[in-house]
Amino acid sequence: MKEVVVEVIGTEPPCVRCQSLWKVVEGAVSKLKSGRERVKVTKLNVSSKETVKRYGLVMSPAVSVNGTVRTMGRVPSEGEMLRILTEALGE
């Protein structure tokens, strides 16, 4: 069963919306009915060269799942985040 890597892409230090996004992601993960242990959540700095190398120009706050950016420039609702996670876990 594959791991689901969730990367929260924001500014360093995190701006208000980046912090909200982090909370939304944590909240969504905690509401997962199953598969929680397969989800790994990390933070990326949107302005770091490593992030830019992997994703190019990204509008923070953004969330990527398994290398694909799913939301950008906004804070998704917990419901949306949950849908994204469930979809990824199902693959």
Partner: protein, 340 residues
Amino acid sequence: MARKLRTSALLIFVAAVVGAVIYSRIVAYSLAPTMKPADFQGLPLWEIPIAYVWDYLQHGIICLLFAFVAAGLFYEFLPREWVVKRMGSRKAMGYIIGASIAPLFTVCSCTMVPIFTGILYAGSGIGPAITFLLMAPAANVLTILLTGEIISWEIAGVRIVASIVTAVAAGLIVSSTSWGKKVENEHRVAVDKKASMQLLKPPLDERLWGSLKFGGYLAKQILPFFFAGLIAVSYLEAYLPEELVSGYLTGVGGVLLASVIGGPLYTPTLVEIVLGRGLMDLGMTKPVMLSWLMGQPYDIPNMMATSKIVRWKVVLTYALIAWVFSVVFGLTYGFLTGSL
């Protein structure tokens, strides 16, 4: 069903805000403060800011509401993926997008620097990055709407044109300098072709609600400083002698002075507009106002933040270019309209 109701409610709200602005146009209700400096001079010290802020709110609240709602809507509905892909590629497109789309990315200052670095590292390079950097604070939705309402639509229009020309010119010039090229090459990063974007598109009511929430977020960030600025300006209107203003802030000398002060002087977002209006009530002329407003993108905090990424030589280059253009545009506008 609940979804459709929500969508309709939100759309009605947006329509109501737009309607209020249009209505104010039709009945010629000014959306700018109407009290003049003379009105303040007789008031007791503590009453001055209250009178000024009240005057402002009575007229300007619709404008502010509209500005933040519009900012939120533009931000939510602009095609992010498309913009990000184009700003991250060939040069010419980068300039066009930097100049035309940057204004819609309302000043969420925490997004501006990351986008600037993103364009520099991954995208079209230092030219478009500088264009974006100068364009975003100069001609974004909030700034232009407020300039139009509080000062005049003529100046707002000229401000847009002047900002575009300055931003693009600065970008082109910096990208052609040896130190600009050096910075660009130092920072160029090869973007992994594998990374992809598959943005989730939420339903309309969530997007509308998100726009309003973002507008509210901007308002929360900007308004406290804006009102502090209003209080400061109220005292200026009451106590700054008109002779001082008409002596120093008119004519060619005025344009030069405004460009030098207006630039490095940091003013919180939108305060430069209110401050400018106050000075205009005290006798500052239109071209000097233009020069003053055009100083917005090169204030000290901005320059310091950018210098951490691109080094001072580049920062000073674009600051110099921005200053020159603010003088040139101020003088040209003054001669063309005979209002120096």
